[in-house]
Symmetry: C2
Subunit: 100 residues, 2 copies
DNA sequence: GGTTATGTTCGACGATGATCGAACATTCAA
DNA sequence: TTGAATGTTCGATCATCGTCGAACATAACC
């Protein structure tokens, strides 16, 4: 048997998760990421109406919140959605975002 | 049969729900409300570190987001948590808040 | 080596929202 | 009728955060 008891998820952690998911640009990132294979999209390839520096800001937020991880591939920074991991910590929240 | 197909829940509605739930004072209101019987707590009876006018502001947010309804009883304004209604629109979100 | 592409960092700006106190309205109680 | 209790409204203030451009760093490509 695995130790899959519900993690208490302190309110501070919940605050971070809600903040991360509460921005429309970040939700768009999450949706585009969910629609593609892991590690196939670099930061600059997202279809978003913001500048490069703003993009960097949002990606940092998402990484800090545990929603995605990044990996450098030469020039580019590739992304992977931490779907199961996040869903385990905050059940249903990511689904709410991804169901449009 | 009842027409209980999943409402698409536009992103604007999701934005409103996340905003409403994204404030710690409002989450405290929701938790205190969930811990009591419906219509038993007036606005001024909540244990919160904010002023009266701030309280009014937060209650308006929660009503607008469809999280609670209010009813005047003489002097006081009583509250009821719209648990099932909100959970039907945004499954799991309120549980996330109420599970501390 | 020089140029282009991809990201980050930094400082600044602006909008939004949480907060408060004072004034007001309403209801209840003495 | 007077006073206390409960909420709302209205401005004002303050902090946070999303946003940008400019400068910088690094890697790929010719």
């Amino acid at each position: 048997m695995s130790t899959d008891f519900r993690t208490p998820a302190t309110d501070a952690a919940l605050q971070g998760a809600l903040d991360a998911v509460g921005d429309p640009v970040r939700r768009s990132i999450l949706r585009q990421l969910a629609a593609a294979e892991p590690w196939t999209i670099a930061c600059g390839q997202f279809d978003l109406p913001v500048s490069k520096s703003t993009l960097t800001h949002h990606f940092r937020s998402l990484v800090d919140a545990g929603l995605l991880e990044q990996r450098d591939e030469g020039n580019r920074r590739m992304n992977r959605l931490l779907r199961d991991e996040f869903d385990r910590r905050f059940p249903g929240l990511l689904d709410l975002v991804l169901d449009q």
